[in-house]
Assembly symmetry: C4
């Protein structure tokens, strides 16, 4: 079970970082957003900013840049010149170059599944040498060619909800929900078969985190009020930020999942439904402080 006990694995890194003044807390790159779904990009960046990272740069189709800039003052944006309202393959090399010097990346929130965007996404997925959180439509894109999933230069963290895992595995959503542990293990086994490193996070009630060779974790935080738009976007940013701060990937994944649910639980104590994803992001700092303190 993924509960406060696990947080002990996380806290040494974070506590060491934050008790010294000299910490370089890393630089996260997020590729997210398309027309109508810029909110997903903003929420992912907000999740990252609230998790204590150093810098966040948001790659976006250039015509959407002012939306992002007027919503996010603490993150930088990088409008991609050939991507108008969605990511296009012609900007993939630029994006790869921009990832140099970053410690981790996120791809997927709100990007859509247009073929141009799919080509962009696959190129980054395969070639980025740094740990990459793969979320939302990026997973739907990968599901079109599941055999290529193993070919990735760096570690990948997948964050599917049951519908997305259904497309990745070729199981029905019902089969997945009735065999959640088995589905997560299957995905892990399949995508890690040729030595690549994939961590699978199967979202839902009792989110599962698994990686070959590590104990499978089932999350104990979270509540039904989270079944609303944008919650997953925030999670991708949280995990990206923890990776940048030096957490080992499996621990970043597990701790990110727990932290995300615990932040939502802190809101759920006051309201049952109707709290928003950006409020969950904003609840992360106080939640994180409580977790670090408990562990002293």
């Amino acid at each position: 079970l993924l509960d406060q006990g696990l947080i002990e694995h996380l806290t040494p890194v974070l506590r060491r970082k934050h008790s010294s003044h000299k910490g370089d807390h890393g630089h996260l790159l997020i590729a997210a957003g398309s027309t109508g779904k810029t909110g997903a990009a903003i929420l992912s960046a907000r999740g990252a900013l609230r998790s204590g990272g150093g810098l966040v740069s948001l790659l976006i189709p250039h015509a959407l840049n002012s939306i992002m800039e007027s919503s996010l003052w603490e993150a930088m944006t990088i409008p991609l010149p050939k991507s108008d309202y969605m990511f296009t393959a012609a900007d993939a090399d630029t994006a790869l170059k921009l990832a140099e010097g970053k410690q981790a990346a996120v791809i997927g929130p709100g990007i859509g599944t247009d073929t141009e965007t799919a080509d962009f996404t696959r190129k980054l997925y395969h070639k980025l040498p740094i740990p990459l959180v793969v979320d939302a439509d990026a997973l739907n894109i990968l599901a079109l060619n599941p055999k290529d999933i193993q070919k990735a230069e760096g570690l990948r963290i997948f964050t599917p909800h049951p519908g997305e895992l259904s497309r990745l595995l070729g199981w029905s959503t019902t089969e997945i929900q009735e065999n959640r542990l088995e589905a997560a293990r299957q995905a892990c086994a399949r995508f890690n078969s040729s030595g690549s490193k994939h961590i699978i996070i199967l979202k839902g009630a009792g989110t599962i985190v698994c990686q070959p060779g590590r104990r499978l974790m089932i999350n104990t935080s979270g509540n039904p009020g989270m079944a609303t738009g944008g919650m997953g976007d925030v999670l991708s940013g949280i995990i990206g930020s923890l990776l940048c701060q030096g957490c080992e990937p499996f621990e970043a994944a597990a701790a990110g999942v727990y932290l995300h649910g615990a932040a939502a639980d802190s809101l759920y104590r006051n309201v049952r439904v109707g709290y928003t994803a950006s409020e969950v992001a904003d609840a992360v700092p106080a939640t994180l402080k409580t977790l670090l303190a408990r562990d002293d």
Copy 2:
């Protein structure tokens, strides 16, 4: 009287939904906004997001898309390609197609009454098979051809204030205000005469909710501070969200009206006038929690 007693009808659905993790809380479609009145669209969507629904998609004239996206991170927008600064008939079929898979819709907040918008609105009004909340200018548009009002594919919830009902019924506003019950009953009788399903919500002090065969309800929540811009827009979103979560339509209408007034009352306790419609939307989650708890 529509008071806490009625909330008992509402709560079983909402409580069941939210006590299990697996709830699919639905997907609401809102068609709202035109130049100068995008705030109405944003407030309707915010009302919906704060009422615990799953996903909200906002159909909008495409030139207004960035305004919406920079104001609403948790909702998605769908800019309609042929609608520039207001809805045009050429986008009606696209809109009908986009409604597939949604559980309910809202039309009207801030759309204006241009003839192009009127054609767009009528087409959706007549053909949408799902429950539809018809608000504001959409009511003014229907009032131009009141005989066609009965011809609708699905259930319709009308939310007129006295001036709008005046145009729908051909009574003066004074006649309506002096015979509010009778006016609401008349509208109900007239628009339901050929087997169509219409619920009428006559707004004002003591909002009336009525549908043939159901006990007419008079709302007991609400206060004079609500007589300000945007309050009705929030209500349309709340009702749309309750429909999406599986509430029976009459109960969604009645509970939405009560919840909206009760949220405003929670603000009124601290200030008398000058609270805003977006604050009412933001007060919905805590109000809803109180109502659900009371009923345990």
Copy 3:
């Protein structure tokens, strides 16, 4: 002295309005903003929205419309078609027509002093039949032809700070500050000499409100933290809103000045400097409630 005693004059109207549900709280028209100064327009509208009025419509140069719409959800905007980045004379007739059915108007915040804007402003100033709050650059424009100031169709409320009154009267700012009472009285006498109705509000420490035939008032609320950008814009909206709610003009002017200062005082109790004009606007509702309660 303008203190809580005066509030007794104000409260009967406001209290009656707000104790009945049927109040129509009016519709205010604000003409404000130009490139670089849209914040002034937004703050004026926010002052109005927070003072309990019914509806607020903001006339603006059309190229600035999206800035306004993404910042102000509860107000409507009306982008003027021939005014690009500032008001032009070609839109004056349109503006006059749009004022029909409104109870009061505000002109001036952030409009600049370009000759085109000056022509637009003078036309509205002279021809609008409803009470008009004349603020900021609108006063600087009028100061160019002080002899024409008396020719106005309706009541006018001037809100100069000492620098603006200096230009209107042809006195130096020092002369005004050393003879504030005399300066206000002079302005009153001069601009009211041919039967027109002008109320003069001379801002500064101890703001003065005067109108011929009424006791001159010196405000007792307010604090040094108000000497920062945007405070005057909020005041213009507050007075406009009180006019729309049916307050007699001199009482709207006096009560608006007192309320504005008292709202700022409620912030000053917690911080000395660095609170913002929008925070003052947001403090109006609670301040107003306290004033109304005190007077029961």
Copy 4:
């Protein structure tokens, strides 16, 4: 050590200003922002607005104007006509003219290092007769021609972090971090050698403030949570605002540094990481009040 003791030097000016109503709290000019980095400009202006200054005008490339205007209501913006998405040399004379009548200026946050922007920056750096805070990319631009640094018309306050000072001095970052006092003194000595007036603020844990002939100060406020994007931008605005309010430059620098850290410390008491730069700006007024009170 720069602690509450130093605040005694600051408070007489600020307290005198704010105990009288007549204070003119000055007008600050900020030149900041470029595509992807408008947040830096907004944060600098927000730091200034929250520190009690009178007016803030933000010079910006014109295509970015609406981003700024929809984010900052209390500041004015001045879109530069020949600067599209970044500052260009062709606007330097315009900028110099616009600085007339201002008491201080800030240059650098988010401007980038393009050659056009570099020419613009150097011209302002050399010719502006008023005190100028030189931050971020403006420092990187000056580092290209370190010999010209002494030639400046007015007092300059440099706010490098170790990486920026590394480029200015030609030392490695490690050398600087291991000899922070010596590095700051060196920079001071070198840039002040021909009678020009330069104050050096070396940021990091224990920020150093030094100027020839003044006791070197080491800051005692601040915490590790500040190692995140945008914090430095806020500092530049705070110092600019204190300069405008009449603080002597070295005291403005020292007090600004202390105030910035103390505001962050007030957030750090509740959360450890994940508070944002705009929250630090918003915490300045309460922090400033505490400091002024303590010193009574």
